[in-house]
């Protein structure tokens, strides 16, 4: 193990390490802790210039209550959910199929198609912006959740295919050969042999895509406007213009907007990290 385990070092080194850990963490999360502190302050603290002292009163329920009951925040959150969940389902479903095709079969152009998915996944969003916006407008889907969902599914299929194909490649190929010898139809091999083995990959991808899409801002701005379809990342800017300079509400709003992917991460941590670090170990 590298570096040398702290247990094998002197008592002083151990104590230093133990005390450095929380200190480093506080420094690392300082900007975030500051915002949490902001979000429980009363407005008076900011007008009096008391940004960093002890809050003059504890306004957690008041501030967060106003975020939920006096703004469009719940609608934005709901929109985010209605955009994110169908995208996850669509992208994972499509990429299970593409990943299966590219991972199991040998045919001409296999690697070419695979690399096309990877390359497409890396292109700058701006080169897609004008045509995709046009396509969405002409399909009558501008400023709808469906318009965003369709684009997200298509774009995420690139990354998901990379992920699924590499995962399927690592499965024991003998299983599929054995099924073929038995005369099992190809689609049944997909459904009954490969798909059940892909469960960990599906779980990992789902949490990852959930976070990516929930946090998307660029496409939300390009393809939607107003509280009917906008997700929370774009909605927070109008939220902030509603409560200009009211830092206690703006910070409470940001924390609310950030919570769902954070909760997802803590609940599904193992899958999340497994997905994110795929390929980091050979």
């Amino acid at each position: 193990m590298f570096p040398t385990p702290i247990q094998k070092q002197s008592r002083t080194a151990q104590l230093t390490y133990q005390s450095l850990l929380p200190l480093a963490l506080i420094m690392w999360l300082l900007p975030l802790l500051a915002v949490m502190l902001f979000s429980i302050r009363p407005l008076a603290d900011f007008t009096n210039g008391n940004y960093w002292g002890v809050p003059s009163s504890f306004e957690f329920f008041n501030n967060y209550g106003r975020v939920f009951f006096e703004s469009d925040m719940p609608r934005y959150l709901w929109n985010s959910l209605l955009i994110t969940v169908p995208t996850v389902i669509g992208a994972v479903a499509l990429s299970c199929m593409t990943g299966f095709a590219l991972g199991i079969y040998r045919f001409r152009g296999n690697l070419l198609i695979f690399f096309m998915f990877i390359a497409g996944n890396f292109v700058p969003f701006q080169i897609l912006m004008v045509p995709v916006r046009d396509l969405t407008v002409s399909a009558g889907l501008y400023d709808t959740k469906l318009g965003l969902v369709l684009f997200h599914i298509a774009f995420q299929t690139g990354f998901c295919t990379l992920f699924m194909r590499n995962f399927i490649r690592a499965l024991p190929y003998e299983l599929i050969e054995a099924a073929r010898v038995e005369g099992v139809a190809e689609w049944r091999i997909f459904w009954f042999v490969v798909l059940p083995l892909m469960r960990p990959a599906i779980a990992a991808l789902s949490v990852l895509i959930f976070t990516f899409i929930w946090n998307d801002y660029f496409w939300a701005v390009v393809l939607t406007q107003g509280p009917d379809a906008q997700p929370v990342t774009a909605g927070i800017t109008s939220f902030n213009s509603q409560f200009v300079a009211q830092y206690h509400l703006m910070s409470a709003g940001s924390i609310v907007a950030a919570i769902p992917p954070v909760a997802m991460f803590f609940l599904m941590q193992r899958h999340f990290i497994a997905g994110l670090t795929l390929g980091a170990v050979k």
């Binding site: 079969y105 080169i127 298509a154 295919t161 660029f218 992917p261």
Partner: protein, 302 residues
């Protein structure tokens, strides 16, 4: 007749099955990703407001780019982003080495250090713009202890604004690199480390000669995601400064959006020309990534 087609299907099932499985994904991907790339190339040769008739202007948009001062600033800022963003890799490695211990509660520490990556860039941008508030912001207070006073606040000063945003971007990116390296360190071969110790390798020498070579896959991915992330920077700029002050924090991705979609004028053709330039910068890296993946792919086949 039905029987004949059935046997034909059976004989060619190894070609037809993958084709059918690929079809929906490929159609979607082609319609929303592949074809739009070429459409953007085409649009960049037109002057078009997005609604009326488009007029063909040939390469005039690109000629205009050559003398556009704002484009030049954006391009330079992209270079700054690209170079400074790479700091996330050594920083992530440093934190990963710091946290790669087995003491009580270390798992929670690792998750909390990773935390910034899970938050949306919009929220990171807001958090940092409050952190940088002139006079009352934590940054100004702390830097004040050292006698540093940034005129107009970090984000209000054209000389510091871009660096302030990059620092905000480095926060989640470092967390990402850290998690890659933590996973990599987990898989480091203990026997090789022991062998290195017997040979008297310690500290830096051990890291450089024994550990880093084993972390190569993690480093490769860290490079890929960091470079792509640097060139994709948009959210933070839009949230923190909206390109200002005086356009000093624009990058190509943001400038393109401004030209094509914001109140600065719906110049789809000119915007697309900027996007094409950005695309070719990106393509240079994408080609390199694909090439190394292709090498691995061929090595794996043998």
């Amino acid at each position: 007749m039905a029987d004949m087609s059935h046997t034909w299907m059976r004989r060619n099932r190894m070609t037809i099955t993958p084709l059918l499985f690929l079809l929906p994904g490929m159609l979607f991907f082609a319609a929303y990703v592949i074809i739009p790339i070429f459409q953007s190339f085409n649009i960049s040769l037109y002057e078009w407001d997005g609604l009326g008739e488009a007029t063909f202007v040939g390469l005039r948009n690109y000629e205009e780019l050559a003398t556009d001062r704002a484009f030049e600033i954006s391009l330079w800022n992209n270079v700054k982003w690209l170079l400074l963003y790479l700091l996330a890799i050594p920083a992530g490695l440093f934190i990963a080495l710091f946290l790669n211990q087995t003491v009580t509660g270390i798992r929670l520490y690792k998750s909390l250090f990773f935390f910034p990556f899970v938050i949306s860039q919009v929220v990171v941008g807001l958090v940092f713009s409050w952190f940088y508030l002139p006079n009352d912001g934590l940054f100004d207070i702390i830097s004040g202890w050292f006698g540093i006073d940034v005129r107009g606040g970090v984000l209000g000063n054209p000389n510091t604004a871009t660096y302030g945003i990059i620092a905000a971007g480095l926060w989640p990116q470092t967390a990402y690199c850290m998690i890659l390296y933590l996973t990599g360190l987990n898989a480091v071969d203990p026997e090789q480390v022991e062998a290195g110790r017997l040979d008297g390798a310690k500290g830096w020498r051990m890291l450089w000669h024994v550990i880093l070579p084993q972390l190569r896959p993690a480093t490769f991915i860290a490079f890929v995601v960091t470079i792509i992330g640097a060139l994709r920077s948009f959210d933070l700029i839009s949230i923190m400064t909206n390109g200002g002050p005086f356009g000093s924090t624009r990058v190509l991705s943001f400038y393109m959006f401004e030209k094509a979609l914001s109140e600065y004028g719906f110049r789809m053709g000119y915007g697309s020309a900027i996007a094409v330039v950005l695309f070719f910068i990106m393509l240079f890296f994408i080609a390199y990534f694909l090439w190394s993946m292709y090498r691995d792919e061929r090595a794996a086949r043998r």
